[in-house]
Amino acid sequence: MKVQLDPIWRASTQQKIFKQLVQVISRPGEIAELDEVLGGERAAMGVLSTLADRMVSVADPDGAIPPGAWPLLEARSAVVSDADYVVVNGKKPPGRDFEPRLGELSHPERGSTVIIEIDRLGADEGARLELRGPGVRDTCSVCCAGLDVAWIECRRCWVSHFPLGIDLFVTDATRVLAIPRTTQVGTD
């Protein structure tokens, strides 16, 4: 009896994705291509399947997660202000009352991780972000087509009181970029 399970839910796939996530969050500005392991799924779902389990909560204000994925994620559904992970559509600006968890001084790790889905990473179109800070040699420039820059402005507030803040994964259909709270982001 062969029982079907999509690749992103398999441990071997998640290990490969995890290694890439560690790489991109250590080198903000580097873009990882996950095409080979996603099995046709969106990169955002690949990131979520790798990071979420029954011990964490996920907020999905834009309905990005298909209903059938929730039992596979096993994560608790939560509101944005309470969630460990938030998945959002980067093409729209954050809602007026969009306030992700920033952590506490005694527990900065409780700041949430936000996965922002956009059209295209690394092509020569869309908002150009200038990154500098830990893990970036001098400065790094990356284009995010379909990213509403309001996200970057809001992020500036959210990460203004280090160590509190949020960490970002920006994804397109198959690629992922990380912007940890330690990175300074300039827009032009």
Binding site: M1, V3, Q4, L5, W9, G68, P71, E74
Partner: protein
């Protein structure tokens, strides 16, 4: 198809483990089976209430495997099943989950699953009978030495 309640199906089937996989393999031929949740095996904390102060504590960890599956037949009929078992063996949990789906939805072959469940339930009943025997044969009714000897043999 079986008098055994669903709450006891896993316990019953667990006594017939070698039969389970061959049975589900043969019954699901030509069917689509998919994981609704990723099957997992690991440890759970066993939470107990102690009776003296009514406080909870963890007695330790127990190995558990869980599975949730959906079956789709060629004619389009679907059924979901699930199982959790006290053994860190994902394979057996998946087997039990498929049995659960087949039996609860009355899919083709359900009577064979029911028969296996019934055999398992008989095994459990035998086990209970042994335990009742242990208790019955060692029942005591101690009495004080000063009381009359219940066997009527008189005191030493």
């Amino acid at each position: 198809m079986t008098d055994v309640p669903r709450t006891q199906w896993v316990a019953a089937l667990a006594t017939q483990l070698p039969e389970v996989r061959p049975l589900v393999d043969s019954l699901t031929e030509g069917w689509q089976v998919r994981h609704v949740a990723v099957p997992k095996a690991g440890l759970m904390l066993l939470r107990m209430e102690e009776v003296v102060l009514g406080e909870d504590y963890y007695l330790g960890e127990v190995p558990v495997a869980c599975s949730r599956v959906e079956i789709e037949l060629p004619d389009g009929m679907t059924a979901q099943g699930g199982a959790q078992v006290l053994d860190d063996d994902e394979e057996s949990a998946v087997g039990f989950a498929v049995c659960d789906a087949i039996l609860s939805a009355g899919l083709p072959g359900a009577e064979k699953v029911a028969a296996l469940v019934d055999r398992g339930a008989e095994e459990l009943a035998r086990r209970d009978q042994v335990r009742r025997g242990m208790l019955a044969r060692t029942q005591v009714d101690f009495s004080l030495l000063s009381d009359k000897d219940p066997d009527g043999e008189g005191t030493a």
